[in-house]
Amino acid sequence: MASLKEMRNRISSVKATQKITKAMQMVAAAKLRRSQDAAEAARPYARRLASVIANLAAGVSGDGAPALLAGTGREDRHLIVVAAADRGLAGGFTSSIVRAARERIDTLVREGKDVKIVCVGKKATAQLRRLYSDRIVENFDLSAYRQFTLSVAQPIADLVTKLYEAGDVDVVTLFYSRFKSVVQQIPTALQLIPATVEGGAPAEGASAVYEYEPSEEAILETLLPRNLTVQILSALLDNMAGFYASQMTAMDNATRNAGDMIKRYTLEYNRSRQAQITKELIEIISGAEAV
């Protein structure tokens, strides 16, 4: 049985931990709101860009299509971009993304494909390096950025484009966590190259009457790289919101656990304190009786 002093120390250390987790929870909640707003504010641009590209892509097909859209015609060499958190203490946030990526990587490897990996975020790098150190071509550390803007996503997009244009990869897939709600973040795979065009051909014939300046192909040529960057940026923003949501939940759980522990220890402490008092009383009384 631990002494009373030891128990007092234990209670106060759990209390201190609880204060920290409580503070982290509140910080995460505040940051969650901000990053959620940022993620939401970035959506109109991404959505419009995607719809414009879908429109254009419907018109430009076959030989004239840029390589980013058409692909190389093969799918032997894959590049997997795994975007996760830079910091920990967020429950299973990074692990769930990494798990989804790992499943894909293992499947591809079993099929005999060549797989390269780009890690975004310190924690993703740490988890993936253990398993696939020889496949990682690059890792990005974004912990220095407090806000994600296009300039943060640009180097990642540049690297991806460079690898693609050098002919080192055929298919590029991005893994991130889609922010659905505060309690739900879904690890998602998004194919970046060849670009996926959503919604088929909206507004049939609309592209025929459009006038283009310069040409359709030239516009598409400039839009596709930008779309790549924007897709990466929205993934990063979603990740950030998801990270804070996940951290908030994790810290909330930790705070509650600490509360339970404190209650249990306090009960135990009081019990043994009373036991000791009773014992002392018995000693005094029996001592007095003996006199």
């Binding site: 970035a42 109109p44 641009y45 419009r48 414009v52 283009y212 300046e213 310069p214 930008r226």
Partner: protein, 86 residues
Amino acid sequence: MAKLHFSLVAPERELFSAEVDQVDAPGTEGDFGVLPNHAPFMTTLREGRVTVRDGSTVRLFDIQGGFADVGPDGFTILAEHAVEAA
């Protein structure tokens, strides 16, 4: 008179979205103005100034690169960078 729905969207946020009378923008192959019921038109943009006129109010935005899409449902600029000019 018919109005033109114009929105200016930057990657970080939507800067402007409303019904206006006229918008002038810097296209890569020359500046152009868009009035209500403009024919469908797409172009890339260069660095320059976008002028938005509505009645007697004029708002100016400085943009850097981007893309303009004039469609049946209005005029949209997707700018790479955009700030409202003072």
